[in-house]
Amino acid sequence: MSLAAFPFLAFFLTLGAVLAVVLDAVARSALAGAPAGRYLAGPLRQAAMRLSGQLVTTEAPDRANWRLAPGWYGALAAAGLAVVPFDEGLALVQLPTSIVLWGAVEALVVVVVFLHGWSPNAPFPLIGAYRYVATGLPVMLPSMFVLIGAALPARSLDVLAIVESQREMWNVVRQPLGLLLLLIVGLSLTLRGPMDYADSADLAGGSSAEDSGPARAMWQAARLAMLVAFSAMAATVFLGGYLGPLLPGPLWLALKTALVLVLMVAATHLLPRMPVSRMVTFLWVVLLPVSFLHLLAAGLVAL
């Protein structure tokens, strides 16, 4: 463990979340043809209002799980980001199997989102929670294939080794399909756009339909934290993480994370969301075979 990584983690989470808010607002108003607005001040004002707002309860909720779900979600984002090295040897968690730890974070996200939707004892959140399980589980398979594929050339399950294996060539060049598949996983982890099955528009906000005041603000903040953690992870696994000439490592990682953020925000606003049954079929029948092929190609390239 290197404690020096802690300030980096805090910086990434806060600044990354701010950047994500701004990018989201800019992309949205650009695509909508709206005049320029207060991209940062507006959302911040709204968050401040929410934080001082009322915490509404429902008739017989599972209060503890409902209230704690945003905390767990944020903690998972932080734990996921903790395995990302900000510079050579500068990762908060150094484990020979840190890529599996990231996988465990993905699995626990499904649990947390389910709990968040289950607990209010209300129909829209409940449907959102189950929908998320239906897509969140199978989308983990491509994720595992992709991360295992990235571990092949590194000969290790350690994220540090995976970065070092990209000194010659970034993984995105060796395994272009992998980044694409991982982005789909990321959209699901952060409940965004085409993979937003938990907090969908047709359910009036799905799992967060009953969230009010600070609970709503914290859930949205946790989603942003997860978005940052995922983007940093994708940048580390596929874009060479902190590697790069001239600039210091953390800055390179920040730039690459921002690039993945841009891709994620663009996908959010440009891709439609299928009905959930169609998506489940798509995940198993199209995405899973594609991940098979991806791993095969990655294996042949690595040999």
């Binding site: 001082s52 905390g71 239906a134 571990a151 000969r155 029948v285 095969l296």
Partner: protein
């Protein structure tokens, strides 16, 4: 050990943050009409908690089996380059066997809403 401590501390920080946010919030009690779940103005006959009719249950069972198999692949990935074609062939065989299960499930139509 450091891993565990780090994860525990991070979890503690986030849970504390959320609890602090609730503490600072406005009024906390909700009168009964406010507690009604949102249905666009309508009302429900019963609690929303129910024996929820999941439409993808078969898929989850197949998923668990597949997931179990994926766990073998992590150690495999570490030695893949070292062992070369042998590793590729072995894992290819393993995946081929399991793909049969997926194919069978697809043919039986389990990846749809039942």
């Amino acid at each position: 050990m450091e891993t565990l401590l780090t994860v525990l501390v991070l979890t503690g920080i986030f849970v504390a943050l959320v609890l602090a946010a609730y503490r600072a919030s406005g009024p906390r009690c909700s009168p009964w009409p406010q507690r009604l779940p949102f249905l666009g103005g309508g009302e429900a006959d019963t609690h929303a908690w129910q024996r929820y009719h999941v439409r993808f249950y078969t898929m989850t069972l197949v998923f668990i089996a597949f997931e179990m198999e994926m766990m073998f692949m992590y150690p495999w990935a570490v030695v893949f380059v070292e062992e070369g074609l042998k590793a590729l062939a072995e894992m290819g065989m393993f995946l081929a066997i399991l793909s049969l299960g997926i194919l069978y499930g697809w043919r039986e139509g389990i990846f749809r809403w039942q």
